[in-house]
């Protein structure tokens, strides 16, 4: 639900393709390949094939099959490696491009460093890169903020569009929850003194850039476990291929080296092995595209496992503030007159509630203007009401029920029963009643309501289907909280919440073994953010909050958590489904290669050649070619991710098993047969 998206690169941007293409050859270096055990074994296989080809060329020995055939097998194997590297390279290139656009915001900028010398503060002009932790600097209107930091003095409007893409300027001021500024953003007005809060190269952005560039990527726990599984499959197939030699000796069948290596490469899970790191990088990249900076890949993955989600009511579930929704005039008061009075009383009211009263009045065709001679009475904690004294002497006040009631009754007037009933029913329905009086006589009641953001019910429904419990955190009283919680469709709420309440709730959920995510911005959120398994701090939040969480949302969008959960799930699903697909492919490859190996000595095995492939050589070549081609064909899926559908775990498993399991079983039969037909044309 981010309002804006930065420029997103097309899936296969030509510029990126060129970089990736170059990289896919550079990555053939064995020192780099060994990090991916599955593909490393393919590289060894290709090296052996190269030796076979060279041997055949120089000696003219054709006991290992024709030179052309061996060369073909070698080239296809090499292509398999290049394709796998390409997948990783394109993912990295996309990540880099994304990171570069962020990095542009943090190029060297002049910084006005504040140095205290002999008790006097002096400004010295420095490069931003020379700023260190806890250095102070000054920014004035028009300056680019050189480093992430915390405002110590002053207040300023800041254009953060470079980071968030949101063009409306934001206000940042010393103290409180809005004291944090980000390097690369621009001060529009006023002057602030800022303390540097990060060392160069260690800001969240730097960390994230390293993550998407793949340089600094640590494998996540699930990725490690999957690598173990894939490695064990590879070992099984090493065993299969090595033992095949004595088996073939027994069956008195010579098997060529090319056939052995082809069988091996086809059997090991090259498809997932080749795409695994690309999937991981693409996941981080998707997070970054959503304008979320994750401190580690693990954080994104954990997000997919979240059981409980704590969301602030204001700004997340409801639109910022309460809005006027209805006018209820007292008996004997004309509705138009009442609306007129309500609007007049709010003319000078700068609060969002006051503005919403004017808006609603205007909708009803009543928009009074401010006139000379009007005396506006501001809201004070003492009177708990505000209003206006008109030039004609009429005094209009509006305020909370209890303060107005005492005022009315003190003046000897009555507070009508039916209005009291109205006040009560508004409160019970989650609204806030504002009572309007003129000259201490009742005029009517304005109903203010929390407006639930459009689409929130759907989102909560979606989350429930994912198995995520949503919890609304609000300062409202339990009655109002309950009403809004029910209306928005959240599963639970914490009313009259203090930071300690949040913390306790998180602990309690974690005690039940659940993973909890929350979003926060204030310093007093920091402990809860640290306690939560996934803590998303808003970029506008305090430095403490950002340090405590493990993700930062650049958009300051409180609903972002929902997106993060989906990105996490998508990451796991893409890995799982492609693994299944890769393994299921082996069945068809067996039916292509195994009969081809033994058909010369056991002609009866022609019965096992159910694809009716042309010859043993074309069968083997078709299998390896299919094996190579499937990698680039799946790159778009690996980069985009397999879509997550919140239809319940069992249904999702059924769906993915059907598509990727059954599909993985059937597709290679078709693919290998087609390739065989095609090769048959040339042989």
């Amino acid at each position: 639900m981010s309002i804006h998206r930065k420029k997103t690169y097309r899936l296969l941007d030509p510029v990126l393709l060129r970089t990736a293409f170059r990289q896919s050859f550079l990555k053939l270096h064995p020192g780099l390949m060994i990090k991916n055990p599955v593909m490393f074994t393919v590289e060894i296989g290709s090296a052996v094939m190269l030796i076979v080809v060279l041997y055949a060329i120089f000696t003219g020995d054709t006991t290992q099959g024709s030179t052309a055939y061996n060369l073909a097998v070698f080239l296809v194997l090499l292509l398999t490696l290049v394709f796998a590297n390409f997948a990783e390279a394109i993912a990295e290139a996309r990540g880099k491009a994304q990171a570069d656009s962020l990095r542009k915001t943090r190029q060297d900028t002049p910084a006005k460093q504040l140095i205290t010398q002999n008790g006097r503060r002096e400004i010295s002009l420095q490069s931003s890169s020379s700023l260190r932790l806890n250095d102070l600097f000054i920014c004035e209107a028009g300056d680019i903020i050189p480093m992430d930091g915390e405002i110590l003095e002053g207040i300023a409007t800041i254009d953060e569009s470079a980071i968030t893409g949101e063009s409306a300027p934001v206000i940042r001021e010393a103290g409180g929850d809005k004291s944090s500024v980000t390097g690369g953003t621009k001060v529009l007005s006023d002057r602030i003194i800022v303390r540097v809060t990060t060392s160069p190269g260690e800001s969240f952005l730097d960390k994230m850039i390293a993550l998407v560039e793949g340089a600094n990527r640590q494998k996540t726990p699930n990725e490690i476990a999957l690598t173990i599984l894939l490695a064990s499959f590879t070992i099984v197939f090493i065993i299969v291929c090595v033992t095949l030699k004595p088996f073939a000796d027994y069956a008195q069948t010579p098997i060529t080296i090319a056939a052995y290596i082809s069988l091996f490469v086809c059997l090991i899970p090259t498809t997932i092995g080749g795409l695994l790191s690309a999937i991981g990088i693409a996941g981080m990249d998707r997070a970054l595209r959503a304008n979320v900076i994750a401190k580690s890949g693990k954080a994104v993955e954990t997000a997919g496992d979240i059981d409980t989600l704590l969301l602030d009511k204001t700004g997340t579930i409801t639109i910022g503030n309460r809005k006027a929704t209805s006018f209820y005039p007292a008996d004997g008061i004309d509705e138009r007159t009442f609306i007129q009075l309500a609007a007049l009383s709010s003319l000078a009211d700068e609060t969002p509630e006051g503005k919403s009263i004017l808006e609603l009045a205007a909708q009803k065709g009543c928009s009074p203007r401010s006139q000379p001679g009007m005396e506006f009475i501001a809201f004070t904690a003492e009177t708990r009401s505000s209003g206006v004294n008109l030039p004609d002497g009429r005094q209009i006040r509006k305020g909370a029920e209890d303060s107005i009631r005492s005022r009315v009754e003190k003046a000897g007037n009555i507070f009508p029963e039916n209005l009291a009933g109205r006040v009560k029913s508004i409160a019970e329905n989650g609204g806030t009643p504002l009572v309007v009086i003129m000259n201490n006589t009742m005029q009517g009641v304005i109903e203010l309501q929390d407006i639930i953001k459009p689409g929130m019910q759907d989102r909560f429904h979606r989350l429930r289907k994912m198995g995520v419990k949503t919890v609304m955190v609000t300062g409202d009283n339990p009655l109002t909280a309950k009403y809004i919680a029910a209306k928005a469709g959240v599963d639970d709420f914490i009313a009259e919440a203090t930071p300690a309440d949040k913390m306790n709730y998180i602990r309690q959920e974690q005690g039940k073994g659940k993973l909890v995510a929350m979003m926060g911005d204030g310093t007093n959120d920091a402990p809860a953010l640290a306690q939560a398994d996934v803590g998303v701090a808003m970029n506008s939040g305090t430095q403490a909050a950002k340090e405590a969480g493990n993700m930062v949302d650049l958009d300051n969008d409180p609903t972002k958590l929902i997106e993060v959960v989906e990105i996490g799930k998508q990451l796991l699903i893409t890995r799982g489904t492609l693994t299944t697909f890769s393994i299921a492919n082996d069945v068809a490859k067996y039916f292509a290669i195994v009969p081809a190996l033994f058909i010369s000595s056991i002609p009866a095995l022609q019965g096992l050649n159910i694809m009716k492939l042309e010859s043993p050589e074309t069968a083997i070549l078709s299998a390896v070619i299919f094996n190579a081609l499937i990698i680039p064909l799946l790159i778009p899926l690996a980069l985009r991710g397999v879509p997550y559908k919140p239809i319940g775990a069992a249904a999702l498993l059924r769906r993915n098993l059907l598509i990727y399991g059954l599909g993985g079983l059937v597709i290679p039969f078709l693919g290998i047969k087609l390739i065989d037909l095609f090769i048959g044309l040339f042989i």
Binding site: A225, P246, K514, G576, T579, D586, A604, A649, A650, R654
Partner: protein, 571 residues
């Protein structure tokens, strides 16, 4: 539907009828509720007291394994010593000789690990002393070891965040006093009344119609044949196993023996569900196992009842199906059923000669042992299944976008490492063993062993290959059946299969228990709508696919060179 198939259905139905209540009863006793076995308590208390066991002491998974492995080592030494000296000990009316050290090594291990490979023939290779005090003894304790091990798994899956997983000695003792001993008594009685010998007298003799004098071995056989099946051991009193007219006299005893071997494995599956209060979980496991069983059984039944096409070409009428190597009193359908039951469950007893089975049947028998988890052996079948379960949970967890969890515990890298290791082990042992023997057969045909490699095989070509493949598969699956054409009583086969037996028995017990122990100690995560429930049939399909893919992928080339090649040459 003919009478033969009806007999098979009846046998299976009766097995379930016994196994279901047995499973429920086992769960009640494990939960500490009142059960029908409480009358055994005084005997058990006496055993604990005399052995100095504190039945209330709880063990961690490591302590369980320490207890299990050390007692097994003692049994091995005990068995080995008796076997190499039996010829000069008592209870030897037939004057049989002592076993050679390599044969004794193989025999001791083979019975210790519940496999019963039997590179000897019972009539001449053992004495009554070793039949009773080594063979039958090991048949009891090896089955009880498996059951005790699976009880540790039960406890680990049920109790949350704990490392206290019960007491091995209690599990072990109770497995014998409550399951194996009482049911064996019933079975032995049934067998004895149907003509199986129960005497300590030596060989008898009779003069046949042709006038030949025939020596007939006897002995206290009924008791052993009972535990042989109940404990999924499979090692027969006589060399010919349950094809022998005294070991398996008639269709009734045949049914009893068939039922005896499946009841504990099936009962344990249901006991798990009752014990965890997740009956659906058991039903799913049972459904997966039964589906696998049927996938192997149906082709075998069709192949065996269909007869041999080579004979058909000669114009011989085969109304009874392919009857080579089968007993007329059991028939083709029943023999097919037995051959699959005995291979999926690690019994390995036979009522027909698998060497004479049709190629399709050989493939199915081999696959039964290669998967080794459809019902499976006493206790260990479920442990093997658990490994597949962990892998299936892992892959499907990823497929639904959630860190995989099994019954509320996260499966992470460490568990995957163990599961992967155990999953690799079976193909490694089978394929490496077969490769080694093929290599020696081809390159060192004249090695000076008791049986020269060149004369190991009874058949040339694919069937000869199947004989070797079957032997290692049987050893690695701790099954014990064989394609008996193989000349296996020599130092190569005795030692190599002996080692395979050792590794393939204990690592697949250690692995699952280690995983269970690690899981039990983990934070417990309650189920939500996002959790993939392990007791759904969708997940069952996933497990089935994992089992199929792992065994099919690892063994496809080997099966191609053996039974598949034979099949395509024949049809």
């Amino acid at each position: 539907m003919n009478k033969e198939i009806l007999g098979v259905l009846l046998t299976y139905g009766l097995s379930l009828l016994v196994a279901l209540p047995l499973g429920a009863a086992i769960a009640r006793w494990l939960k500490g509720e009142k059960s029908i076995w409480d009358f055994m308590a005084p005997l058990e208390q006496f055993i604990y007291k005399s052995c100095g066991i504190n039945p209330a002491a709880q063990m961690t998974w490591k302590e369980h394994l320490r207890a299990l492995l050390s007692i097994n080592l003692i049994w091995f030494i005990y068995a080995f010593i008796l076997l190499v000296s039996q010829g000069s000990l008592f209870f030897n009316p037939d004057g049989n000789p002592s076993q050679s050290p390599d044969l004794a090594f193989n025999t001791a291990i083979s019975f210790l690990v519940n496999c019963n490979l039997q590179h000897y023939s019972g009539e001449t290779g053992l004495t009554y002393l070793t039949q009773v005090f080594v063979i039958s003894f090991l048949q009891f304790v090896s089955a009880a070891t498996g059951i005790a091990a699976v009880f540790v798994l039960f406890k680990a899956l049920r109790d949350k965040v704990t490392d206290q997983l019960g007491n091995f000695w209690v599990f072990f003792t109770q497995s014998i006093t409550r399951i194996l001993l009482p049911i064996s008594l019933v079975i032995a009685t049934l067998l004895a009344f149907n003509g199986t010998p129960t005497s300590f007298k030596g060989k008898d003799q009779y003069i046949s119609l042709q006038g030949d004098t025939v020596q007939v071995s006897r002995g206290p056989a009924a008791a052993m044949i009972a535990i042989k099946h109940l404990g999924t051991n499979g090692g027969g009193w006589f060399g010919a196993n349950s094809t022998h007219p005294l070991e398996n006299p008639n269709y009734r005893t045949n049914m009893v023996e068939l039922i005896a071997q499946v009841i504990i494995p099936i009962a344990l599956v249901f006991a798990l569900g009752y014990y965890l209060n997740r009956r659906k979980f058991s039903q799913v496991i049972f459904a997966v196992m039964t589906l696998g069983f049927l996938c192997l059984l149906i082709p075998t039944m069709i192949a065996e009842t269909g007869g041999n096409p080579a004979l058909e070409k000669t114009g011989i009428l085969q109304t009874g199906g392919a009857m080579e190597g089968k007993e007329l009193r059991f028939g083709a359908a029943n023999s097919a059923y037995w051959s699959i039951v005995t291979t999926i469950i690690s019994t390995g007893s036979v009522n027909s000669m698998h060497d004479s089975s049709m190629p399709v049947s050989n493939a199915m028998q081999l696959l039964g042992m290669m998967t080794n988890a459809f019902y499976g052996g006493c206790g260990v079948g479920l442990l093997n299944f658990f490994i597949y379960l962990v892998i299936a949970v892992f892959i499907s967890g990823l497929m639904v976008g959630r860190t995989p969890e099994l019954l509320g515990r996260k499966i992470e890298a460490r568990e995957m490492k163990i599961a992967a290791l155990i999953a690799i082990l079976h193909p490694l042992l089978i394929l490496a063993g077969t490769a080694l023997s093929s290599y020696i057969f081809v390159h060192y045909p004249a090695n000076n062993w008791a049986i020269k490699p060149v004369s190991w095989l009874n058949n040339p070509g694919p069937h000869g290959f199947s004989e070797m493949l079957y032997e290692y598969t049987s050893a690695s699956a701790n099954n014990g059946s064989g394609l008996e054409g193989l000349g296996d009583n020599n130092v190569f086969w005795n030692i190599s299969t002996g080692l395979v037996l050792l590794i393939s028995r204990f690592l697949p017990i250690i692995g699952p228990l280690a995983i269970a122990g690690l899981l039990a100690n983990k934070k417990y995560i309650p189920e939500t709508a996002g959790t993939l429930r392990s007791d759904s049939y969708t997940f069952g399909i996933m497990i089935f696919a994992v089992i199929l893919i792992i065994s099919a992928l690892a063994f496809f080339p080997a099966l191609t060179l053996g039974p598949f090649a034979e099949y395509f040459s024949l049809y």
